[in-house]
Amino acid sequence: MSATGINWFKYSSPQAFHPLAGRMIPWFAAAAAGLIVVGLYVGFFVAPTDATQGDAYRIIFVHVPAAWMSMFLYVIMAIWAGIGLGLNARPSFMMAQAIAPTGAMFTFLALFTGSMWGKPTWGAWWVWDARLTSELILLFQYIGIILLRSSIDDLRRADRASAVLALVGVINVPIIYFSVKWWNTLHQGASVSITAAPTMAGTMVTAMLVMMVGFWMYSIAVTLARVRCVIIERERQPSWGKSASLPDVAEAR
């Protein structure tokens, strides 16, 4: 990279990004742990019982942040995939690869906690409602992207194929988000439980937002840790040329 004389793109090389990511992980991990602890404290000990849903509403503190992360992470994964396709940039594909499992995990959590919330409030674990169905499809999309990647041995082809699949599937994200407006769904709108008890809104919203930021930090930390694994694993691939990569690291530092 230094041969080009453009230092701005130094960290776009995986060899240089690997140590940078390593330095960033502890900060994001600490922020995640602190925010989640504060969020749980506010959610369980400061926020009062909801007037209409009782204490079952407290599931919101994990359900909504998980659901948001499932959509956010998909969009970010698709953006990395798009950059990868557009610029033929290997690190972008690695980022997309590193995000997918975390996104799938949060999608599963959104569905599971939603089911836990649906049973006491709707009387059903699951309904084929637009919001729930589109979120389930998102889980299948994540799984499909991960399986497609793992089913192709050639890394370049795996990168491009999974990136195309990720980009095409991004259409589902606005469908999930607007599903409660576009269709007559059983799933409540964005802020029903909050506006139902206006005097309680403050601490409930605070707990939810703190948890959401905490989940963001968690996602960044885990994704950076995973992309470091991906960098090393790919380095072991014969096509990479292991001997050539080590001097690059020394140079980048």
């Binding site: 690997h18 140590p19 390593g22 749980l40 369980f44 000990f45 400061v46 009062p48 019982t49 009782g54 204490d55 079952a56 407290r58 599931i59 994990v62 359900h63 998980a66 499992p101 975390t102 995990m105 599963f108 959590l109 599971f112 906690t113 836990m116 919330w117 049973k119 006491p120 968690y218 885990v222 840790a225 995973r226 470091r228 694994c229 960098i231 090393i232 694993e233 380095e235 080590l246 690291v249």
Partner: protein
């Protein structure tokens, strides 16, 4: 704080099963993911980190 006792807190107004299952599975998934990445990282080996 609105909880009179520890039992009351864990009962969650009768919704304890749903609330704790949600948070328990969330903790398991996130903790499990961290563990999985940790082990993957150990298996990959440190590059030349010192």
């Amino acid at each position: 704080m609105q909880w009179g006792s520890v039992e009351e807190f864990f009962a969650m107004g009768g919704y304890g099963l749903y609330v704790w299952a949600s948070f328990g599975i969330a903790a398991l998934c996130m903790g499990g993911e961290v563990l999985a990445v940790w082990r993957r990282s150990a298996a990959a080996g440190s590059r030349d980190e010192s």
